[in-house]
């Protein structure tokens, strides 16, 4: 059993794109040692909410957040907050893989380099190798580390982005459908990784696969139309949902 500790506490969060409300009064706890899964139909606000957790929504023009989100008790939307540090501590894997148009090596080494995590070239090599290995990409790319990260297949790019995110060992890792372009074996590898990471980190994963949510997560939040319909222990949600809507969704009877 891993130690559980409250890491991020989101309270009454509302998110707007211009005038349109995309997230409506969502409150969720994210803890270290726990994998939290966000599930819900497409367009319900999972990615939007995920982005609020490390303020990546700042980069979207017209996006506005209300409510409180605290990381280790500290309001991340407070004016004194150092966003850079926040994002270093709360890493993110995007829904659409977005490798840098640089070499595969540089893609992974970038984070460690700016955070000074490697003292020398050998350290860096080790970090890159380890990250790529954990993302299950090492064998496929070890001979072509100098090739561009954009010349990889869809699934390879996705794993590259995962490797890039874990290379800086953030405290919280937000993953937006990290396995959407992966085959079952690669998926299993990432799930293993998640299992592995959760010992020390807080992990949030958005997924469309109920099976995956059930396999890897301990907490699940079911989003629907911008609200969290149900949030609780994964087992409960899947075996004994309190809400009708949750049940419908899980059993695929929805809509």
């Amino acid at each position: 059993m891993t130690e559980q500790k409250l890491k991020i506490a989101a309270r009454n969060v509302n998110v707007f794109y211009g005038a349109k409300q995309a997230i409506n009064d969502v409150s969720i706890d994210i803890s270290t040692g726990v994998v939290t899964a966000f599930i819900g139909p497409s367009g319900c606000g999972k990615s939007t909410f995920l982005r609020t957790l490390n303020r990546m929504n700042d980069t979207i023009a017209g996006c506005r957040v209300e409510g409180q989100i605290a990381l280790d008790g500290q309001d991340i939307y407070a004016s004194g907050m150092d966003v850079v540090e926040l994002r270093a501590r709360v890493g993110m894997v995007f829904q659409k893989p977005n490798p840098f148009p640089k070499s595969i090596y540089e893609n992974v080494a970038y984070g460690p380099r700016i955070h000074g995590l490697a003292g020398n070239k050998a350290d860096m090599d080790a970090i890159v190798e380890k990250s790529l290995r954990r993302a299950g990409l090492w064998d496929e790319v070890k001979d072509r580390l100098a090739e561009s990260g954009t010349a990889l297949s869809g699934g390879q790019q996705q794993r590259l982005c995962i490797a890039r995110a874990i290379a800086v060992s953030p405290e919280v890792i937000l993953m937006d459908e990290p396995c959407s372009a992966l085959d079952p074996i690669a998926t299993a590898r990432i799930e293993e990784l998640i299992d592995d990471l959760k010992e020390r980190y807080a992990i949030v994963i958005v997924t469309h696969s109920m099976q995956q949510a059930a396999r890897v997560s301990q907490r699940t939040a079911f989003f629907h139309l911008g609200t969290v319909v149900e949030y609780g222990v994964t087992e409960d949600i899947f075996t004994n949902p309190r809400e009708e809507r949750t049940k419908d969704y899980i059993t695929g009877r929805y809509g």
């Binding site: 490390n54 990546m56 023009a61 994002r87 659409k96 977005n98 984070g111 700016i114 800086v168 953030p170």
Partner: protein, 296 residues
């Protein structure tokens, strides 16, 4: 039954029409570029025919003279090189930094930011002679920098070149997909790091394009230099950026108005030298631009 629509005659006709349009469009493109290049070729041919005979070692190493057989181009060429050096040293960093600020860091929607934006765009439209007036007023009359010098010439031309670099730079920066910024920010890069490590290298080709055309314009410019004393007879090549100097286009302008018909050849020869100088100046930038061009 299957394949109905695409094999249907009216669909095929439409396809043929679209292909014809495609061919027309491509031909138009070809004609456009060929026209532009023909113009260039014609100019070059005329210059080469008239001027090639005038280029020899003495011409390349000599300075201005009232005797067409003695007059050489080195004095003006050196003046141009020094002037362009000053222009580049000022306008490139200033232009790039301003572009980065306006595109990435300036608070959006503020009145003063809009003013900066508009005034930079507007500076590009200011007649070059007005920059000459400004250079005269500020650099010579207020700062007491030496008249006719590459320093003042370069500073004046830098004011003119900077907007071109800023405008092209901003567009290049704008064209970098937001997902690249997101990727950098999400691993904990600061906005400054995201810009300098990722956005700027990707925007570099566009910035260099602006630099190339801006500098080319500066190199061929005469009007503002009239005002700051570079329309002058200078028989000794400048020793440094504060010595009196002329520049190539000015030399060409002066020679073209010489009474002595022997200067016609010199004029064309000087134009050839200027174009060679231009190509040399652009060479590095073009090399870098090709090198950094990435498609995503």
């Amino acid at each position: 039954m299957i394949n109905s629509s695409w094999q249907a005659p009216e669909m095929q006709r439409r396809l043929a029409r679209r292909h014809a349009a495609e061919r027309r469009f491509k031909a138009l493109g070809l004609v456009a570029i060929a026209t532009s290049l023909l113009f260039l070729a014609f100019l070059l041919f005329t210059m080469l025919r008239q001027g090639l005979g005038g280029i020899d070692w003495a011409f390349l190493t000599g300075s201005d003279s009232t005797d067409a057989t003695v007059a050489g181009v080195w004095g003006a060429a050196k003046g141009s090189i020094l002037t362009m050096g000053v222009t580049l040293a000022l306008s490139f960093p200033l232009g790039v930094l301003a572009a980065v600020y306006l595109e990435e860091f300036a608070p959006k929607g503020r009145r003063w930011v809009e003013w900066v934006e508009v005034s930079i765009n507007n500076l590009a439209a200011v007649p070059s002679i007005i920059f000459g007036l400004l250079g005269l007023a500020v650099f010579i009359n207020v700062m007491h920098l030496p008249r006719s010098s590459p320093l003042v010439g370069g500073m004046t031309l830098a004011l003119m070149t900077m907007p071109v670099i800023v405008i092209s730079g901003r567009n290049a920066i704008k064209a970098v997909p937001p997902s690249i910024r997101d990727a950098a920010l999400a691993v904990g890069a600061s906005p400054v790091q995201a810009v300098f490590h990722h956005v700027l290298p990707l925007a570099l080709p566009g910035i260099l394009t602006g630099t190339i055309i801006g500098m080319a314009r500066a190199l061929g410019e005469t009007a503002p230099l009239l005002m700051i004393g570079m329309r002058a007879f200078v028989a000794t090549p400048p020793g440094g950026i504060t010595d009196p100097a002329s520049v190539m286009p000015m030399q060409i302008f002066l020679w073209s108005d010489e009474i002595d018909q022997a200067f016609v050849q010199n004029t064309s020869a000087a134009i050839i030298v200027l174009l060679v100088l231009l190509m040399a100046m652009n060479g590095l930038a073009i090399y870098l631009r090709n090198k950094f061009e990435t498609r995503w």
